[in-house]
Symmetry: C2
Subunit: 114 residues, 2 copies
């Protein structure tokens, strides 16, 4: 939660969650862990997409990579954005940052039928 | 994040965020801090209401009680719910729990006798 930690985390591979279907982001995250060699990623979102960012993390943790990844930290905050219609007005929007960490290596799935 | 901590936190005054307007929950939370004497509350939500729970915490922290409350912890998880249409099916829904702590007293609250 320190400033230094935040700076380090902003360098992590980051999935920006928006309005696309959930699986787009889940696949993007799995690609980071499985073929990009990431040990840690950030999943971030703003406004209504916050719920979907939590879904991305939870689907990874419980369904696609159970026992392999875990949620390391969750932070919430507020961004201030200049209103595009009225530049004198500042809109606030809530944000979330979820850091997901790889706990152990993935094992290449054997293609044997069991 | 320990089991003991989770148990203690489930005893805190809890605001369940759903589909009502944001301000309903903000007022409920402020009431806890200002007239119920709470030092810590939980704001919890499921599914799409997760974004609104983050808004509740952020509006309290940045707008209504700045410098007075802070976010102590944010946890995400998954609840399993029996599908009401098909009891053999288990639906999963993401959850959030935000613990908000009072850092210092508001206006010296007159002590109401209990």
């Amino acid at each position: 939660m320190s400033e230094a930690e935040s700076k380090a985390e902003s360098e992590l591979p980051t999935i920006y969650v928006g309005k696309k279907p959930l699986m787009n982001y889940v696949i993007a995250a799995m690609t980071q862990f499985m073929s990009q060699g990431a040990d840690k990623i950030r999943v971030v979102a703003r406004g209504r997409a916050i719920s979907r960012a939590v879904d991305v993390a939870e689907v990874l943790r419980t369904r696609y990579l159970p026992g392999i990844v875990d949620v390391e930290s969750v932070k919430i905050g507020t961004d201030q954005i200049q209103n595009p219609q009225n530049p004198e007005r500042i809109d606030r929007v809530s944000t979330i940052e979820i850091v997901i960490i790889k706990k152990r290596e993935l094992i290449p799935a054997p293609k044997s039928e069991e």
